[in-house]
């Protein structure tokens, strides 16, 4: 570790706080986003503990209602939306492109601080007053209670700016800063998915901005756009809200698709099956994602015409997503499947995300949705998509890029144990919720009828297992920072530029000279050097990729 890298070239606090280096900004996001996840997770455990039995278990109804609301707001706006793009996108994207930085480094730093400011404003709501009613802020409830809503809306508005600026930055970077030879067809699929995500961020987020402004004014002044008491229309608010918030689901899931594509390709040593389809369908999903928001509103009182149109388009978007899953499975065909921890998460994703996807199709069926809407079935569905999709993929990506980010290897055995715990805990937590939902248990319920007790207890027990798994990950990752083995340049034998053309951890300027790309991101048949098995440690400076596997992990 004697060479200069982005971590050690200047260690002062100031050099971190004012850094324009995309890698350091990514690390700062990682810390901030992890803290949000921790806070949101603790709230989730409190919620699950309260639901161990009907009636009051550990908290009052008001405390419960505020807990699940804050859990949602933190997890969605402060964690999932920035998680993959702002952390891994920031760290990896410019290197994968062969660029020295993102197009607008100062804007990048600004968006980090804007994010922090937004999160701080939103959390002020905790101190100032109650915020309940979930992250959807439906009027007129949201305009009729507590001043906390003013802070939450302001916070979401500000965090939205951060999201827009990040997306804008990435789009320009991908368009204008690709290394010579890195054509669109050679891009890693992670880049494609971040590209699609960024489009959604740029197009959708401004609408939540104006929605929050109007909601803020409605609460503060009573302007009568959304408040029915003044002649406004609460369903119109739902249109505004979901015009952003449905595409936001794709802000959350598309980057996960990218990570999974990278992992499947890399750990199968195989070109990702249907590369072009997977790449372009991400962009297609990003656009189609704007045309389906009304499927959140089948029973809201909107017109039947719009319900029917939204339902039809919902199916159309399901198909490319389903085909992607099949492509990922096909990628392993005739490959060389290496079951390291990141790959375990990718395989786990295929399981949990597929369940999330199929239950999504069930919810898109007009008549069936009438029964399932706003029940635990929906809760289970979006946790399978958000957590089983995004968080599992983010964990896979974190384990995959951890050596590159920190220069240290984590403990593989503990990694696998934690992966199994997360898998079991996750499914035990959320699968029973499908059954609760089909049986008619509504969501956002503090109290419930006795017949639902068993399934709720099971779900809560699962959440504890999940909690243990996640804390174990936190433990061994932190441990690896101090005690972990030094990571080689390319421990996984990947073909993308962050592994083949730079050191571990990367140089402050990423590359000593601009890389010239001659093959696609998964063209293993053009990379014979990977299969020589000479065990030499690559330094990442060469034009030719050199790869090694840490000896302890070569056999698996």
């Amino acid at each position: 570790m004697s060479q200069v890298n982005y971590l050690n070239h200047d260690k002062s606090l100031k050099s971190w706080l004012f850094t324009l280096d995309h890698k350091r900004i990514g690390i700062m996001y990682l810390v901030a986003v992890s803290l949000s996840f921790l806070a949101g997770g603790i709230l989730a455990l409190l919620v699950r503990t309260e639901l161990l039995g009907p009636g009051e278990t550990i908290m009052s109804a008001d405390a419960y209602n505020q807990s699940f609301t804050l859990h949602a707001v933190l997890m969605i706006f402060a964690f999932i939306i920035p998680a993959i793009p702002a952390v891994m996108g920031n760290f990896v994207l410019p290197i994968q492109l062969g660029a020295k930085d993102v197009a607008f480094p100062r804007l990048n730093l600004a968006s980090f601080y804007i994010y922090l400011a937004g999160a701080a404003i939103a959390l002020t709501a905790l101190v100032v007053g109650r915020v309940d009613g979930g992250w959807t802020f439906y009027t007129p409830y949201s305009t009729s209670v507590g001043d906390g809503i003013l802070f939450i809306t302001a916070g979401v508005f500000v965090m939205g700016f951060s999201s827009i600026l990040t997306g804008l930055n990435f789009i320009v970077t991908i368009h204008k800063m690709r290394a010579p030879g890195l054509t669109w067809n050679r891009l890693p699929l992670f880049i494609w998915s971040i590209y699609a995500t960024s489009i959604v961020q740029v197009l959708a987020t401004p609408v939540i901005g104006i929605t929050m402004v109007l909601l803020f004014l409605e609460r503060l002044l009573g302007i009568g756009i959304f408040d029915p008491a003044l002649g406004g229309d609460p369903v119109l608010f739902q249109h505004f809200f979901w015009f952003y918030s449905h595409p936001a689901v794709y802000i959350m899931i598309l980057p996960a698709f990218g990570i999974i594509s990278d992992l499947m390709g890399t750990f199968s040593r195989q070109q990702v099956s249907g590369y072009k389809f997977v790449a372009l369908s991400s962009v297609a999903i990003a656009f189609l994602g704007f045309l389906v928001w009304g499927h959140h509103m089948f029973v809201s009182g909107q017109s039947a015409v719009s319900s029917i149109i939204f339902s039809l388009i919902t199916y159309l978007i399901g198909i490319p997503t389903g085909v992607k899953v099949i492509n990922w499975v096909q990628t392993m065909y005739k490959g060389s499947v290496w079951l390291q921890t990141p790959m375990l998460y990718a395989l786990m994703f295929l399981f949990t995300f597929s369940i999330g996807g199929f239950t999504g199709v069930m919810l898109g069926v007009l008549a069936v949705d009438v029964h399932l809407h706003d029940t635990y079935f929906v809760v289970a569905h979006f946790h399978y998509v958000m957590m089983g999709g995004n968080v599992i993929a983010a964990l896979g990506g974190l384990h995959y890029w951890w050596p590159k980010m920190t220069g240290k290897m984590f403990n593989e055995t503990l990694g696998r144990i934690a992966a199994v715990l997360v898998f079991i805990g996750f499914n035990v937590t959320f699968f029973p919720q499908f059954i609760l939902g089909t049986r008619g248990m509504p969501r956002r319920y503090y109290d419930y009828l006795p017949e639902f007790t068993d399934l709720h207890v099971l779900s809560s027990l699962g959440s504890y297992i999940l909690g243990v798994g996640l804390f174990l990950i936190l433990g061994y990752l932190l441990h690896s920072l101090f005690r972990g083995k030094n990571a080689p340049a390319n421990p996984w034998g990947a073909l993308t530029l962050e592994w083949t053309h730079t050191t571990t951890p990367p140089d402050p300027h990423n590359f000593h000279e601009t890389p010239i790309v001659t093959r696609g991101a998964y063209d293993y048949h053009l990379a014979p050097e990977l299969f020589g098995g000479d065990g030499a440690s690559g330094d990442g400076h060469g034009e030719e990729a050199e790869v090694s596997v840490p000896s302890g992990q070569a056999t698996s």
Partner: protein, 232 residues
């Protein structure tokens, strides 16, 4: 192998102009990136306003007679004047960029100053429009209660159901637009100072170009607000 950072940057800065940031390969790449970034920013602005246009359309479709009637309270002469003022300012910005491209600093500065002045006029007119309405109880939110008579208009007759929706939309739309005008004035003050100092040449005028794009968008939004609110 272990190049020190400064050696590395030296190697690549040899023929680099001062405005070129280290992570770009060429001025053109930097200019194109900045411009594309600006266009992306502009569409976020358009989508920000789109919410208001949707609210306007929805309520107009529901209550066409109310919206028709309320437009009469907005003075088309003042709105029209402001339209001409903003169009003129767009023109001066475009002229300014033209002069920047042909290295005419005086032309650039003159036009930037003119643009700034037009923006001032716009806001002054807006101020008179707002205050005339607020005086008669046409406000944003709770206190909405049109009353009083002036210029032969009995405001109380405009206190009908859904009139508030029209004026809420009017205030939020023009308010957000006015805020953008204010921001634009700040930007023009800044680049005028830089232009006077001679920061811009035909080789480097990116900030002028970007502020210009922003200003044209503010103009375009008004081009739509004017007929929707004042005329139809």
């Amino acid at each position: 192998m272990d190049l020190k950072p400064d050696e590395r940057t030296m190697a690549s800065t040899a023929e680099h102009p001062a405005h070129l940031q280290h992570h770009f390969v060429s001025s053109d790449q930097q200019f194109d990136a900045a411009k594309m970034g600006m266009w992306l920013f502009l569409i976020t602005e358009i989508l920000l306003f789109s919410g208001m246009f949707v609210a306007y359309t929805v309520y107009r479709v529901w209550h066409p007679e109310v919206f028709d009637g309320m437009a009469a309270l907005l003075d088309w002469r003042l709105g029209g004047l402001n339209t001409l003022v903003l169009l003129a300012s767009s023109f001066t910005v475009a002229l300014g960029i033209h002069y920047a491209q042909v290295d005419n600093r005086k032309g650039l500065v003159t036009n930037l100053v003119l643009t700034f002045l037009f923006a001032c006029i716009f806001l002054v007119v807006k101020y008179f429009e707002y205050s005339a309405k607020i005086e008669h109880g046409i406000v944003l939110g709770d206190g909405f209660a049109p009353h009083g008579v002036s210029h032969g208009v009995d405001y109380a007759t405009y206190d009908v159901m859904f009139a508030q929706q029209f004026f809420s939309i009017y205030y939020v739309m023009t308010g957000i637009h006015g805020f953008h005008v204010l921001v634009g004035m700040g930007l023009f003050a800044w680049i005028t100072v830089r232009a006077v100092k001679g920061h811009f040449t035909s080789a480097y005028y990116t900030p002028v170009e970007l502020c210009g794009l922003y200003w044209h968008l503010v103009d375009i939004i008004w081009i739509f607000l004017f007929p929707l609110l004042y005329l139809i």
